[in-house]
Structures are given as structure tokens and as C-alpha cells.
Amino acid sequence: MAEEEDETGFEEEADEGPGGVDICHGRRKRLFSKELRCMMYGFGDDQNPYTESVDILEDLVIEFITEMTHKAMSIGRQGRVQVEDIVFLIRKDPRKFARVKDLLTMNEELKRARKAFDEANYGS
């Protein structure tokens, strides 16, 4: 918990100048501000969520992705991230597991549909 409070505190300080030392994690430009705002509204928050809340959520998401990536690199084929590793890491969480299965199946379907469509066009 301390990490979130420190980051929101340090945010103002790190904008001092181009030569400033990058002390704390999350100093990068905000990657997902726009998308996260829409997402928070979709999940039940107000239509205009607070910027600080969006920032906290972005830091959490980036930390989540980082942790998952590190874990995936350490299992299966070392040093690489593969889908099977992600599915393995997620196996205990029913929501995420179902979602990943859905997405991958859907992707396969769409690929097949596109391929069939292209072949139909090519024939004609």
C-alpha cells in the first residue's frame, strides 16, 4: 500500500526537468489514461472519474502486467512469454481463466472466418 501513496506524492516532484533523476517507478508518461477513463465508467464509476484514481489504477494495471510477465518468463520456456504460461498462471482465477479462453477461441473463429472470406474472394 505504501507504494501507491509514495507514487502519487512523488508525481509532482519528478516533473522538474529533462535532466531529473527518475527515482520512482511509474514515472513514465501516462499510457492508458483515456482508455482507463472509459473503462472505469463502464465498470460503474462516475462518467468523469478523478484523475488520481485513474492514475492509481494505471499503476496497478502496469504492475499487474509486469508481475504476470515476470512470472510467465520464469515458467515453461525460460525467458519467453507464451500463451500457455499465461493460461497456467491464471488457472486459479475463474473469471480471468474463462475470459482468456473466450478471447482465444474468438480469435481463432475470426481468423478462420477471415481466411474463408478471403479464399471465397480469391476464387471469384
Binding site: 501507491e4 482508455e35 489504477l57 494495471v61 502486467i65 509486469t66 518468463m73 499465461i86 482465444l104
Partner: protein, 204 residues
């Protein structure tokens, strides 16, 4: 939107190894729920057939007299899983119909929120860049798709928990950082937030 219960039954059918084309008739999340269902219902009957050949290892015994290995893959699907296919079709149709009824009764504001819920997503390019900067090597597209999908679910879990906290504390949306932090604390205690920073040294 899939519900986990439905996926469980589908899992057994999913591990097909046949060469036949068999896209699964599930609802996509890219388009609105109302547009898809009519399409799926048409596809469902013809495409559920080939899938069933994996499951009936038991049914295969019944069909053994019918053909050699090459043929049996097609023959097998005839017998048993008419009922399984119908049952899954029914579950799909039921769910689709319920969703249709629900969405058609939404107010304007609810429709807006639902649309935001379905359409919002993390940009694939940024996620790919982020993962590649961590691994140092390139990652496949499926990895990016999977990772952005679970990140969205993760964000949703936090927001939902934060809304619970907000309501419990008698506050109103928009969510404040204190709600978010309390939500994170609660999820951490349930082990829903991965944390590899502190190793648990058992015997010191």
C-alpha cells in the same frame, strides 16, 4: 460475455484435434450483443456437429463396426451427442435471449455505460510495447490479446471492489484514491493481486 459456468462444459469439447473447420458458435465481445445472436443461431446447428467427435471416446466403441480409422472420426459424431449439442445450444440460446431482453430494457444512461463496458479496451500496441520492454524479446499476438483481456478483468475487479468500499463508507462516486487503496488492500488479502516482491522464508 461468457459466464464461467458455461465455459466449463465447453472445455471438454474444446480440445479437438480434427482437421475439420468448426468455429464455435459463441457470442463475440467485439460487437453488440443484439447483432450477434441471430447469426449464431443459424451457424449453431451445422457447426456443432463436427465438434462432438472428441468427446465420445465411449461412443467410439459403439461405432467401431462402422468404419476404419479414417472414416470413424466422421461417423462417431452421429450417435451420442445429439443431446449434448442440443443442451449446449439451448444454454447458448437461453443466455442470448436473456441478454437481449435485458439490454432492450436498459435506460439511456445504462446503455451508454454498457457500451463503454463492452467497447473499452487497452491499446494492443502499448501492451505489446510494455511486455516487450520487460521480456526483451518479441511476443506473439495471442499473448498480447490474452494479457490485455485479463488486465481489463483485473481493472474491473478493482473498480467493483472500490465501489463496494465506497458504498460501505457512505460515500458517492466518483471513486476517490482512498477507496481504491482500500480495495487493493482487500484484494491483496484474498490473494487476487500478484505480488512477488516479498519472499516467504519459512525456516530462517
Amino acid at each position: 460475455m461468457a459466464d464461467p459456468a458455461r465455459i466449463k462444459t465447453d472445455d471438454t469439447c474444446e480440445k479437438t484435434t480434427t482437421a475439420t473447420e468448426e468455429p464455435k458458435p459463441e457470442e463475440t465481445d467485439d460487437v453488440s450483443a443484439t447483432a450477434k445472436p441471430t447469426q449464431e443461431n443459424k451457424e449453431a446447428p451445422s457447426q456443432d456437429q463436427p465438434r462432438q467427435d472428441v468427446k465420445p471416446e465411449t461412443a467410439a466403441h459403439e461405432d467401431e463396426e462402422e468404419g476404419t480409422s479414417g472414416q470413424s472420426a466422421c461417423k462417431r459424431l452421429k450417435v451420442e451427442p445429439e443431446k449434448k449439442k442440443e443442451k449446449r445450444q439451448k444454454v447458448d440460446e437461453d443466455e442470448i435471449q436473456k441478454m437481449q431482453v435485458l439490454v432492450s430494457s436498459f435506460s439511456e444512461e445504462q446503455l451508454n455505460r454498457y457500451e463503454m463496458y463492452r467497447r473499452s479496451a487497452f491499446p494492443k500496441a502499448a501492451i505489446k510495447r510494455l511486455i516487450q520492454s520487460i521480456t526483451g524479446s518479441s511476443v506473439s499476438q495471442n499473448v498480447v490479446i490474452a494479457m490485455s483481456g485479463i488486465s481489463k478483468v483485473f481493472a474491473g475487479e478493482i473498480v467493483e471492489e472500490a465501489l463496494d468500499v465506497c458504498e460501505k463508507w457512505g460515500d458517492t462516486p466518483p471513486l476517490q484514491p482512498k477507496h481504491m487503496r482500500e480495495a487493493v488492500r482487500r484484494l491483496k488479502s484474498r490473494d487476487q493481486i500478484p505480488n512477488t516482491k516479498y519472499k516467504n522464508i519459512l525456516f530462517h
